[in-house]
């Protein structure tokens, strides 16, 4: 009986390991495949009420990003030229050190056309201003 339980645990553990391994591999290969490519777009990321926004504009200041509000999402806000929601499964930002207000480069192929748009994020990278 004990043996059966142990073997079941081993199978379950193996499957879990395989699943996580596959996910890590696909995530890493995705990051590597994007590495040589030009980003689809560049702008700023803002975290607001649990939503990640991507904003663009000519003269965006740190204050604009710090004081981001729900009003900035409306069609008639002049603060940003473009605004979109980043759809992220929680893993694309993992280990990137990206925080609200950072300048970022993003990679995507599909945009859901609600207002604001919803970008299906494939990859994101912080832009180092010192470089």
């Amino acid at each position: 009986m004990k043996k059966i339980l142990t073997s079941k645990k081993a199978v379950f553990g193996g499957l879990l390991f395989l699943l996580i391994g596959t996910w890590v591999f696909s995530e890493m290969s995705n990051r590597f495949s994007m590495k040589g490519q030009e980003p689809t777009d560049e702008g700023y990321i803002v975290f607001h009420n649990g939503t990640k926004y991507f904003v663009k504009g000519e003269n965006i200041t740190a204050s604009d990003l710090e004081n981001f509000s729900d009003e900035d999402v409306t069609m008639f806000s002049k603060k940003f030229e473009e605004i979109a929601i980043l759809l992220d499964d929680g893993m694309k930002l993992l280990g990137t050190g990206i925080k609200s207000g950072d300048q970022v480069a993003i990679w995507y192929e599909e945009v859901l056309e609600s207002y604001p748009a919803q970008i299906k994020l494939m990859q994101i990278r912080k832009i180092d201003k010192n470089k």
Partner: protein, 335 residues
């Protein structure tokens, strides 16, 4: 003593709580448990409750592949909706005292010249049935989509306009405005009291599942579809090279105009797979949920997405077409 305290609290509640606060969260909280669903076409409502596919599917519909359209009574109930742009919401929806006359009769066709052009006369069908949808999400943010009346109190739009599969959160309220022109909603405002999406949309976020049906309450008497009319839906298989029109409320042109206006364009379906159609018809954020209308003004799909190449250049737009799966789900949601 107790009575007076109770009465004071009662009066305070009803006198000082703003009406708008009571109107919020009309759809309630969305809690979906994936374990409750066993079929991709299981129907999930605004509370996350699941109706099994085998319970709602009607076998009698097997031989029906289209529903009827209705041009509407044309009864006007205009309200000004300009504040939707500035505040994202309206304080009130009082009828607008304005003479709106139909001095121009547009032809009963959708397919027009190439390029996005403004629909000047949204009183006539099918433009009257194209709705601006104002949305509020659970995090307090607001947005908009387009939808099409497909029944007296039913609107077809996108799944991503009501449920975000990434966060598993849904909208808390939605208001629908048919036939908007110059920031005037000619047929009034209608609150959504429920919506339906497939469980597969919530589980996968796949473009083939990106559709939703809103259920509306009446406004000052009649239902939205009774006033503005509604389009029939038609099941399709192959629509390659078929001419379609896509009409809606694009954010870029609304920002430019300073007013909510309807725009549209027509063109051919450029490519397709079994469940999704692709085209080069111009669209923009805000147009999600726009119907793909055929030359008979029947809904044969819903626009949802824009696609870019690896350099960020837009290459094509697309959305789910009215496959047998989608037709079955949507037609059953009409009941």
């Amino acid at each position: 003593m107790k009575k007076s305290v109770f009465l004071t609290i009662f009066l305070f509640t009803f006198l000082f709580v703003p009406i708008s606060a009571l109107a919020d969260n009309t759809l309630g909280d969305f809690h979906f448990n994936a374990k409750e669903s066993s079929h991709p076409l299981d129907r999930v409502n605004s509370k996350g409750e699941v109706t099994k596919y085998e319970d709602y599917s009607n076998k009698n519909l097997t031989f029906i592949n289209e529903t009827k359209s209705f041009q509407g009574s044309g009864e006007l109930n205009p309200i000004f909706v300009g504040d939707l742009l500035n505040k994202g919401f309206l304080e009130t929806t009082q009828p607008l005292v304005k003479d709106v006359t139909t001095n121009e009769v547009a032809p009963f066709v959708v397919i027009g010249p190439d390029g996005r052009t403004r629909v000047e006369n949204t009183i006539v069908f099918p433009y009257s049935a194209i709705t601006y949808i104002s949305l509020e999400w659970a995090d307090g943010s607001r947005g908009s989509c387009t939808g099409t009346l497909i029944g007296i109190d039913r609107v077809l739009t996108n799944g991503h306009c009501v449920v975000n599969p990434t966060t598993q959160r849904g909208i808390v309220s939605a208001t629908v405005y048919p036939g908007v022109s110059g920031s005037t909603a000619l047929f009034g405002a209608y609150n959504a009291i429920d919506y339906y999406v497939t469980s597969h949309w919530i589980n996968t976020g796949a473009i083939s599942q990106d559709y939703a049906v809103l259920v509306l309450s009446p406004s000052n008497g009649p239902h939205a579809g009774e006033r503005a009319g509604y389009a029939g839906i038609r099941q399709v298989t192959n629509i390659l090279n078929q001419n379609i029109g896509i009409y809606g409320y694009p954010g870029d042109l609304i920002r430019r105009d300073g007013a909510i206006n309807q725009y549209g364009m027509s063109g051919n379906v450029a490519s397709e797979d079994s469940q999704v159609a692709y085209y080069t018809i111009d669209t923009a954020p805000g147009q999600s949920g726009s119907a793909m209308l055929n030359t008979s003004n029947q809904v044969i799909g819903v626009h949802s997405s824009g696609f870019s190449d690896r350099n960020g250049n837009p290459v094509r737009n697309g959305g789910p077409k009215m496959s047998s799966f989608m037709f079955e789900f949507v037609s059953n949601a009409l009941n």
